[in-house]
């Protein structure tokens, strides 16, 4: 069962996550978000990404709660206040802040489960199998591939300009002025690079509107397709219920 869950089609995982995110925001707090957070954490743990997903969810939820708590309970207290170390604090404002943070954490855990468990290119391939046009498949796959190269080039430009004596310190205006010699070469090189890739695409007779065949098909059993349809139907029903209730 767990092994099967680990090999789940990325689109089924995505449909599950979208349903969980909708439930997080439609079902009243704390039951809705607590329940979806629990499901997200269990799914993540079963598929071996529990720790990473928990860190991601906490990294979003905790600072949000702290900022909301400072703003609504201390800086601009909402409701009755009590004095804590000489500071007026509105304890009642901490609860709504906690529900907002809980909702964020639950949504991030649900989507984070898909993102952490699925290699991005596997998701792109699964989407392509379901009819994603070649141009959008290219955009996603090429973007994912281009990120490490661009980060490397950004560091190279930074180092090269520093070697040439570019001052990156000083006041705000001086630092703003230094932005162009740093960002400029990086941007020009990326545009030049795009021309080279465009020539390569043309040479290979790239057809943007066509459907591409994957060399490594992502398994998509009939049972999962039925489950996915049910998940999407449930999501739509949940959203409709959220609007009419």
């Amino acid at each position: 069962m767990i092994e099967r869950l680990r090999r789940i089609n990325p689109l089924t995982a995505l449909a599950t996550a979208v349903l969980l995110v909708c439930a997080t925001y439609v079902v009243p707090a704390p039951i809705g978000p607590a329940l979806t957070l629990g499901i997200g954490v269990v799914l993540s743990s079963l598929t071996g990404v529990g720790r990473r997903v928990a860190i991601l969810a906490i990294a979003v939820a905790l600072p949000t709660w702290l900022f909301l708590a400072v703003m609504n309970a201390v800086v601009a207290p909402e409701g009755d206040t009590i004095r804590v170390a000489g500071i007026a604090v509105a304890p009642a404002a901490l609860v709504p802040a906690a529900w907002i943070a809980l909702r964020l954490g639950a949504a991030v855990a649900a989507l984070g489960w898909v993102v952490m468990m699925t290699p991005p290119l596997r998701l792109v391939h699964a989407l392509a199998q379901r009819g994603l046009p070649a141009w959008s498949q290219y955009l996603l796959a090429a973007s994912l591939a281009a990120v490490p190269e661009a980060r490397r080039r950004a560091r190279e430009v930074l180092d090269a300009q520093r070697c040439r004596g570019l001052a990156v310190g000083g006041g705000p205006l001086g630092r703003l002025r230094a932005a162009i010699p740093l960002a400029g070469p990086l941007m020009v090189s990326l545009v030049t690079d795009a021309e080279r890739h465009a020539i390569a695409l043309d040479a290979r007779a790239f057809e943007p509107r066509g459907k591409r065949t994957s060399l490594v098909p992502v398994p998509d059993p009939k049972g999962e397709r039925i489950l996915r349809t049910a998940l999407w139907a449930l999501t739509v029903a949940l959203v409709v219920w959220g609007f009419v209730r």
């Binding site: 979003v60 703003m71 800086v75 661009a150 980060r151 950004a154 932005a179 740093l182 960002a183 795009a194």
Partner: protein
């Protein structure tokens, strides 16, 4: 869409993600994370700009945090307005680019406020959030504080991004500029 525009979008997406290294090195009080979107919109028009913005946030959602997916509407606005600004010569000089950045920043800020209010309760954990809290300390209503904070950050960010894009456009090799129909390339 032309093949070169299609090939440029992934590089611009990567630029949006990679520019963080430069921003961190310069300790700038801005993000510049839409600079690739604005560059593509200025070169290839609004549709390419929108695609760059949407793809950027999807990729950021996959690689960094799913929270970025919620801000896709903001990137659509940035791509659209930058593309339209480019069509009316909004990147022909740095002063014009600053004006374009002002409009893009105002509209992007206005788009992000409802998202921040609905998802984050009005405050995000970061520089914008600190400004919001400071404005709340001055007894401004939450909506107004979030709006002003978002505007302040977005306007500065987009004005600087547009100025850099305008400066880069004149430095592009003429051959490439001509492929995108840049006026300075034809001169």
């Amino acid at each position: 869409m032309s093949t070169i525009a299609l090939a440029l979008i992934p590089r611009a997406v990567a630029l949006n993600l990679a520019i963080g290294a430069i921003v961190a090195a310069l300790k700038l009080p801005v993000y510049l994370d839409s600079i690739g979107t604005i560059l593509v919109a200025a070169l290839a028009g609004p549709v390419a700009g929108i695609l760059t913005g949407v793809t950027s946030n999807l990729v950021l959602g996959m690689l960094s945090s799913p929270i970025f997916i919620a801000f896709i509407p903001v990137t659509v606005v940035i791509g659209t307005v930058a593309g339209v600004a480019s069509r009316v010569g909004g990147f022909r000089s740095v002063p014009r680019a600053l004006a374009s950045g002002l409009v893009i920043g105002l509209l992007a800020g206005a788009t992000s406020v409802p998202i921040v209010l609905a998802l984050f309760g009005g405050v995000t954990a970061g520089g914008t959030g600190i400004i919001t809290i400071a404005l709340r300390a001055l007894e401004l209503p939450l909506e107004s504080a979030a709006f002003i904070a978002s505007m302040a950050v977005d306007v500065l960010d987009k004005m600087l991004s547009c100025a850099i894009v305008a400066a880069v456009l004149v430095r592009l090799p003429r051959r490439i500029g001509a492929r995108f129909g840049l006026p300075q390339a034809a001169a």
